[in-house]
């Protein structure tokens, strides 16, 4: 269930240089390695498969074996600038809690997931009456690890409910550059095959805003340019 290249390129673009990044579900460490090489990040990974972790170690990455549902609790609060969850949210047992954990551990979260509101998905259900199999959902229903699929609209609702600020959102499709979208748009919920969000917490206990929390030393501010 690894994210496509569009996903990685976009995350790579979103993450500011020299920051601390936790990649959850980092697989064999391809994205972490790209971020380390191109953005000079101080990266850590969480990966469920032992062979994935072993591959990460070979790349010189610091990766801990564990699963997003159980082991995020082990990470201290505000230890990272970014928590990355690429194409994994829909496969966790408790997406809501995982999302809260991401923003406890990190200042910002980058989350991408297949959009169940995409027109092809809707069409497959409406016209065919069958569970959809599309580019971003390639596995038949009986084999998929996706147990909590959602639409862009559902995700926006959850962010609102949790008081999470959506700093930016983008739509992704195989082989195409990421397109910035208004995540609350009805049409984008139809058009986006897969979505990527940059999130931060709206308020903190100390009353600071995301703007206050933005580290001063970082020059570049362009999130979606």
């Amino acid at each position: 269930m690894s994210g496509g290249r569009e996903d990685f390129r976009e995350i790579l673009r979103l993450v500011r240089p020299g920051t601390r990044v936790l990649d959850i579900g980092c697989g064999e460490g391809v994205l972490l390695e790209m971020m380390a090489q191109e953005k000079n990040i101080d990266g850590r990974g969480l990966e469920i498969s032992p062979s994935g972790v072993a591959a990460c170690l070979t790349r010189g990455l610091a990766v801990v074996q564990g699963d997003a549902d159980r082991d995020l609790a082990d990470f201290p609060t505000q230890a990272f600038d970014y928590a990355v969850l690429s194409q994994t949210l829909q496969a966790v047992r408790e997406p809501r809690r995982v999302l809260e954990e991401l923003l406890r551990i990190a200042e910002r979260a980058v989350v991408s997931f297949p959009n169940f509101g995409h027109w092809r998905v809707r069409w497959a259900l409406l016209a065919g009456g069958r569970m959809p199999m599309t580019g971003s959902l390639p596995t038949p229903w009986y084999e998929t690890q996706n147990i909590h699929l959602c639409t862009v609209g559902d995700f926006v609702d959850l962010c609102d409910e949790l008081g999470v600020e959506i700093e930016a959102a983008g739509a992704m499709a195989e082989g195409q550059p990421v397109r910035e979208i208004n995540p609350r748009s009805f049409m984008e919920n139809l058009r986006a095959e897969s979505a990527i969000f940059l999130l931060s917490r709206r308020t903190r206990t100390d009353g600071s805003t995301p703007e206050d929390r933005r580290p001063a030393k970082r020059a570049s501010n362009d999130l979606f340019e």
């Binding site: 850590r44 032992p50 062979s51 972790v53 072993a54 591959a55 990460c56 170690l57 070979t58 790349r59 010189g60 990455l61 610091a62 990766v63 801990v64 074996q65 564990g66 082990d74 990470f75 201290p76 230890a79």
Partner: protein, 396 residues
């Protein structure tokens, strides 16, 4: 000749045929002016540390790897054992093309103090009396073991170790090194280990110690002077401990309820294969290990608690070790030092912001898996070490 001694003889033969990659070793005797300060108070004068080396130290002395052994291990990590003739206990990890390649690293393995393979321990002669120390030997700690290793590194002119590697008690030494001497450790690998002994760990050790002390030949620990050997007690200690190194499924698979003969004896002979196996483990252990060493080293294990000296907070112990690269490995079926113990270490490393990697390896072989051929362990170790070596600027 029964099966056990046949296999022993065969192992000895194989051992002598194995090309050892050993490059040196011996016993370092420290002058009386350089005593070893002990955590429990007092000091050891005339300290001796036995060691083996593999490979050569490079010009800028940056490729040294210290391998730390477990409770009943020794410095013969990749050399045939002088008593049993068996190949070194980590031969599968040390050698050309293996994770610890002597053509790349200078590998050192010392016998811990308190041990019985050449380093100062309870069977050594107390210079003050000219008699074996016995129970007058001071109680030592994991910290003391490490401090003796530090003294050896000083003598060898090694200011900074590329890696400290160990399993079980060896893993505790690796953690001790990284927390006490973070500036001297580039990377630390802790396998199938724990940051402290739990009540269950202490309980099993206590069974072993009581077995030794219940043997009339133990003679209050003075057996060496009185010319006896508490072999029965030490064998029982080993038998009990050996069970904790295995797993229920592995025992069941290997032995099940298999009998030695066609029928049970209606007595207390070793009817079952597992009984005979354990008896053999006990009997062969006493040939290579000293009973008092067993008491002292298990005590050092029981006293080990990495958090205790840091206000009870494990994360604090790693606060100074943030620049050390850590690799923690555990095995699913290890119930002596279960994965939860390794996860405690990893959680503390994360809390301290250290560079931690962790893998739980699927294996049904129990605690002893770290001594066996485990492909994922070898891949993880090899990957971690070679990427750390690159970061350290070591030539492949």
């Amino acid at each position: 000749m029964d099966a056990a001694s046949r296999s022993n003889a065969l192992m000895a033969e194989i051992g002598s045929l194995i090309d050892t990659v050993e490059s040196g070793g011996g016993v370092m005797r420290f002058p009386d002016t350089l005593p070893l300060r002990l955590e429990g108070g007092g000091q050891l004068v005339g300290l001796e540390v036995a060691y083996k080396t593999y490979g050569t130290l490079n010009e800028d002395r940056s490729n040294a790897v210290l391998v730390c052994h477990a409770l009943t291990g020794d410095q013969y990590v990749a050399s045939p054992h002088p008593t049993t003739g068996k190949p070194g206990w980590w031969t599968q990890l040390i050698g050309p093309g293996r994770p610890l390649d002597p053509s790349r690293y200078f590998i050192i393995c010392t016998n811990v103090i308190g041990g019985c393979m050449g380093s100062t321990g309870p069977s050594s002669i107390n210079p003050a009396t000219g008699q074996p120390w016995g129970l007058t030997f001071p109680v030592i700690t994991i910290g003391d073991m490490v401090r003796a290793q530090v003294m050896l590194m000083d003598q060898m002119g090694i200011a900074s170790l590329f890696a400290v590697v160990g399993g079980s008690m060896g893993g505790m030494q690796a953690l001790q090194w990284a927390t006490e001497y973070p500036e001297r450790v580039f990377s630390a690998i802790c396998i199938a280990s724990a940051p402290r002994h739990t009540a269950q760990n202490i309980a099993f050790n206590e069974v072993g110690r009581q077995a030794i002390m219940a043997d009339p030949d133990w003679r209050g620990g003075d057996y060496a002077r009185l010319g006896t050997r508490p072999e029965k007690g030490l064998a029982v200690a080993r038998m009990a401990a050996h069970i904790t190194y295995l797993s229920e499924p592995a025992l069941q698979r290997k032995f099940g309820r298999e009998l030695k003969k066609d029928d049970v004896s209606w007595g207390f002979d070793a009817d079952f294969q597992i009984e005979s196996y354990l008896r053999h483990q006990g009997a062969s252990f006493v040939d290579r290990f000293d009973a008092n060493s067993y008491l002292y080293i298990t005590r050092a294990l029981d006293y080990f608690d990495l958090a205790a000296s840091h206000g009870g907070v494990l994360g604090e112990a790693f606060r100074k070790a943030r620049n050390v690269r850590f690799c923690v490995l555990s095995f699913t079926s290890d119930w002596l030092y279960p994965t939860t113990e390794s996860r405690d270490i990893v959680r503390a490393l994360n809390a301290a912001g250290a560079r931690a990697s962790f893998v739980e390896i699927e294996s049904d072989k129990g605690h002893d898996a770290f001594l066996l051929h485990e492909p994922i362990m070898e891949a993880a170790l090899g990957g971690f070490l070679s990427s750390a070596a690159k970061a350290r600027g070591l030539e492949p």
